[in-house]
C-alpha cells in the first residue's frame, strides 16, 4: 500500500500539538520547577532550588499517608477485580442488545463525579435515609444508625467508584477470548466452574494482573471519597495534595507530592503497557 504525502498534513497538526504543549507540557514543567521552590509563609512561593519538599517524604507524616493510600487502594483493587472479572466475562457472553444496555448503565456510573458517588453513599449509609432504617425495620438492628464515616464505608465507596472502570478495562480482553477453549474443556468433561478456573483464568492471567494495577492506580487517584466517607486518618495522598495546595498554601510541597504520585502512576501504567505489548508480540 502506498502512503501519499498529503500536502497539508503539517499545518493540520501544528495547532493541536502547540495547544497540548502550551497547556499540558508547560504546566508540568512549571509544577516540576515549583516542587523545588521555597515556600513563603502566607504567600505562594519564590524561585529557589531546595530539596526540602522532597526531604519531607522521609518523615513519619508522609509515611503514614503513603501507607494509608497504598493499603486502601490495594484492598479496593483486589475486591473490585475479583468481582469485575467474572462480571465482564458473563457480560461479554450475553446477547448484544442486553450487553449494550448494561454497558450504557456502567458508563453512566463511571462518568459520575466523585462528589456524587460520595454524596450517594453517604446518604445510603446515613442514619435518616440509609440502610440502617431498613435493618431496623427488618429487625436486625435495634435502632437506625449511621455506617459512615468509617473504613468500611470508604472501601465500599472506592469499590463502587472503581468497579465500572475495572469492567471496561477487562471487557475488551474477555470479549475477544476464543469461546472454543472453555467449550473444549467442557466437552472433555470439566464442569463450567472448573473450565473457568483451569482454562479461562490462566489464559487471562496477564489481563487480570494488568487490571489489578490499573485499578490500583485509578483508586490511588481518588481525592474526594476519603474526605466524605472516611475519617481524617483515612486521608490519602491526593487529599493531602489538595489540602496542602489550597488550605495550607504550601504549593511547593503539594507539587513534590504530585510529582511522586505522577512517577508511581506512570511507572505502574508503563509496566502494564510493556507487558501488554509483549503479549501482543507473542500472539502474532
Amino acid at each position: 500500500m502506498t502512503r501519499r504525502r498529503s500536502d497539508n498534513s503539517w499545518h493540520l497538526v501544528l495547532l493541536p500539538a502547540a495547544t497540548l504543549t502550551v497547556f499540558f507540557v508547560i504546566p508540568f514543567t512549571i509544577m516540576l520547577a515549583v516542587s523545588f521552590f521555597q515556600r513563603i509563609e502566607g504567600g505562594f512561593f519564590e524561585p529557589a532550588f531546595v530539596l526540602s519538599n522532597y526531604v519531607r517524604f522521609l518523615t513519619p507524616f508522609f509515611g503514614k499517608i503513603l501507607a494509608t493510600s497504598v493499603g486502601l487502594s490495594a484492598t479496593a483493587a483486589t475486591i473490585v477485580v475479583a468481582v469485575a472479572f467474572p462480571f465482564a466475562y458473563v457480560l461479554s457472553r450475553m446477547p448484544r442488545r442486553r450487553q449494550t444496555t448494561i454497558l450504557v448503565f456502567i458508563l453512566s456510573v463511571l462518568s459520575l463525579s466523585e462528589v456524587i458517588v460520595g454524596f450517594a453513599w453517604s446518604t445510603l449509609l446515613s442514619r435518616t435515609a440509609g440502610i440502617g432504617n431498613l435493618f431496623h425495620w427488618v429487625g436486625i438492628a435495634e435502632s437506625p444508625r449511621a455506617y459512615t464515616p468509617g473504613l468500611a464505608s470508604l472501601l465500599l465507596g472506592l469499590a463502587y467508584l472503581a468497579f465500572p472502570y475495572a469492567v471496561l478495562v477487562i471487557y475488551p480482553a474477555v470479549s475477544r477470548l476464543d469461546p472454543e477453549l472453555p467449550e473444549a474443556a467442557r466437552t472433555s468433561g470439566a464442569s463450567p466452574l472448573r473450565a473457568f478456573t483451569s482454562v479461562t483464568l490462566p489464559i487471562m492471567r496477564r489481563t487480570i494482573a494488568g487490571a489489578l494495577i490499573l485499578v490500583f492506580v485509578f483508586t490511588l487517584g481518588a481525592y474526594l471519597l476519603p474526605q466524605v466517607l472516611g475519617r481524617p486518618r483515612h486521608w490519602t495522598l491526593p487529599v493531602h495534595i489538595t489540602d496542602q495546595a489550597i488550605f495550607q498554601s504550601n504549593i511547593p510541597f503539594a507539587a513534590a507530592m504530585a510529582m511522586f504520585l505522577l512517577l508511581v502512576s506512570l511507572a505502574l501504567v508503563g509496566l502494564v503497557l510493556v507487558v501488554d505489548s509483549r503479549r501482543r508480540g507473542d500472539q502474532s
Binding site: T2, S6, D7, S9, L12, V13, L15, P16, A17, L20, F23, F24, P27, F28, I30, M31, V90, L91, P95, Q99, T101, I102, L103, V104, F105, S108, V109, S111, L112, S113, E114, V115, I116, F119, A120, S122, T123, L124, T128, A129, G130, N133, Y160, F163, P164, Y171, S175, R176, G221, L224, P238, I241, T242, I246, I251, A255, A258, S265, L266, V269
Partner: protein, 266 residues
Amino acid sequence: MIVWLQRGFVGAVLVFLASPLLVVVGVSVNRPKRLLFPPEGFSLQWYGEIFTHDGWTNALLNSAAIAVVAGTLAVAIALPLALYIRQRGGFLGRALFALGIAPFMLPPVVSALGFMVFWIAAGFHGHILATMVSHAVFLVALPLVTISLGLETIDRTLVEAARTMGADSRTVFRTITFPLVRPYVISGFAFAIVLSLNEYIIAYMVAGFTAETLPIKIFNSLRYGYTPVMASVAVLFVMTAVAVFGAVAWFGNLPRLLGAYRSEGR
C-alpha cells in the same frame, strides 16, 4: 442452572450499582427540607429550585458553559490530531497520541495541580476561561480515542479510489472521511461533555471559588448544610449520562467502541 447463577450474580452487582442512586432519587422528592428515605410526602420542588435558586442556577450555567466550550475545543484539537496520526503514524504520531491521552490517564489531582500552577503563573487563576481550556486539554483523550477508532474502520482503498479520480485531500475529507467518521466525532464530543459536567477537582483547583460548577456546589453543600437540591442535581446528572450514552449506543456500536471485536450477536 449455571445460567441462573450467572444472571443472579450480574443482577446482584447491578443492584449494588443502582442502590445508592435509587436512594438519591427517593431523597430528591422529599417534601420537608431534610434528607429522608423513604421520602416523606412527594414533591418536585427541589428540581424546581435548581432553576430558581440563584446559587444553583449560576452553577448550572457555569457547568453548561464550561462543558460546551471544553467539549468543542477538545474535538477541535482531537480531530486534526487523529487525522494526522492516521495518515502519518510513526514515532511522532505515537508521541502525539500519548500526549493527547496523558492528561486524562494521569491521577486527576496531578493534572489539576499542574493546571493550577500554570494559571497562577499566567495570571488567569480563578477565571472561568482557565477552567474551560483546562477541561478541553484534560478531555482531548476521549474524542481522540473515538475518532482514531472511527478512522481505523475506513477502508483505505476508498480514499485511494477518490484520489485516483482526481479528488484533492480537502475533497476526500469533505466527501468521504468526515461523513464516515462523524458518528465517532459526535460520540467523542458527547463523552467529553458528560465528563466535563461531572469533573470536580480541576474546576475546583483552577477556579473553584469564583466559577462555581455544579459538582463544586454539591460538595460545598455536603460540607456546609445539606439540602435535597443536591439530590435532585445528582439525579439530573445520572439522567444526562444515561441519555447521552444511550444515544451513543442507539446510533453506534457501543461494544465495539469499548474495544470488543467479536460481539456480533451471538
